[in-house]
Amino acid sequence: MDPRLNIIDKRLENIKRLIAVGGGKGGIGKSLTASALALTLSKLGYKVGLLDLDFCSPSAHIILGVKGIYPKEEKGIIPPEIYGIRFMSIIYYAEDNPSPLRGIDISNAIIELLAITQWGELDFLIVDMPPGIGDSILDTIRLMKRVEFLIITTQSKVVLETVKKVLKILRELKVPIIGVIENMRLAKSSFVKEELKEFNVPFLSAIDFDKSLEDSLGDINKLSKTDFVRHIEKLVDKIK
């Protein structure tokens, strides 16, 4: 018997809402959205946690410029706070080394993190999802029973094809979908809206492609002033 599976509910019980930022594809802005959302909610005075579940390409720490912090050991591990966000990531243990983890290892590491992390009271736990419909998303759905999904997409055909698959499986499994954000928009078009019409999910925002965004990664002041973050600030009312 794996005892860890029986303590996860308790570790999450004082978290009001669990929001996973997903979309199935990589490179669509999931990490940027998760980081910006955590930051925005924290600024608004909410108690926020951010959990980076992308063990191969952890990105939230790069986007937020997190450095030199480490969890405390106290009846488990206590995520260190940065900009008011309790931040948990594999980087504390993997640093910037390659993580050649098969699915079974990813699953085990997720279970371990969920079993030993003492989040305390939170209004929101934002979960930055890796690409794929594999171990990470299946464990997120299985272990974080109240999780809701915020879905990111772009206008790209290849991206939309995957986003539809994710929406399909979430709908089938009755996992709540908060809505869809269209990111990296190159031109105004109703293509995304139309393609996703059948899913009947709220369309939260369309964020333009912003050439200067990259330059603000890692610098919280610059980041806060970007159009991207401004969009997230505007749509946060529809989420909270």
Partner: protein, 136 residues
């Protein structure tokens, strides 16, 4: 003492099982602690005793805690080895990382024969409950 969180998980599990099995009293818990997690057995027993003290359902349970050897098997060359062979060469920092998340063994250790990070943790990963006994 992050081990406390795992000890609490053991107690939670025992209580859950005893509800299902309709135990009035849990009499014995057998636990295996995998070598990769490098948890001191005495410490774990101490923490467990502290936690079960708060539950009359379980406070008298006998605790049997055993170490389980860490056995790894390479997916590339099929070589099998023991975690002991590799842990000695690890820095304290890396072995502490494996203590928290045993899977990072794939980051900091390699198959001693072919050098691959692509291996299975066959046994001895972490804390497992073998049996929970009780009276109805």
């Amino acid at each position: 003492m992050h081990e406390w969180a795992l000890a609490e998980a053991v107690v939670s599990t025992a209580i859950k099982v005893s509800k299902k099995e309709k135990f009035k009293k849990i009499t014995k818990i057998k636990i295996k602690i995998g070598e990769l997690q490098q948890i001191d057995i005495d410490t774990f027993e101490f923490l467990l005793k502290e936690i079960i003290g708060n539950h009359t359902l379980i406070d008298k349970a006998e605790l049997k805690i055993e170490k389980e050897e860490g056995v790894l098997k390479c997916n590339v060359c099929a070589h099998k080895w023991n975690f002991k062979e590799v842990i000695e060469k690890l820095s304290e920092e890396y072995s502490e990382a494996i203590h928290f998340i045993p899977e990072v063994a794939h980051i900091y250790t390699r198959c001693p024969k072919c050098g691959s990070p692509d291996f299975k943790i066959v046994e001895g990963r972490g804390v497992l409950i073998e049996t929970i006994e009780g009276i109805r």
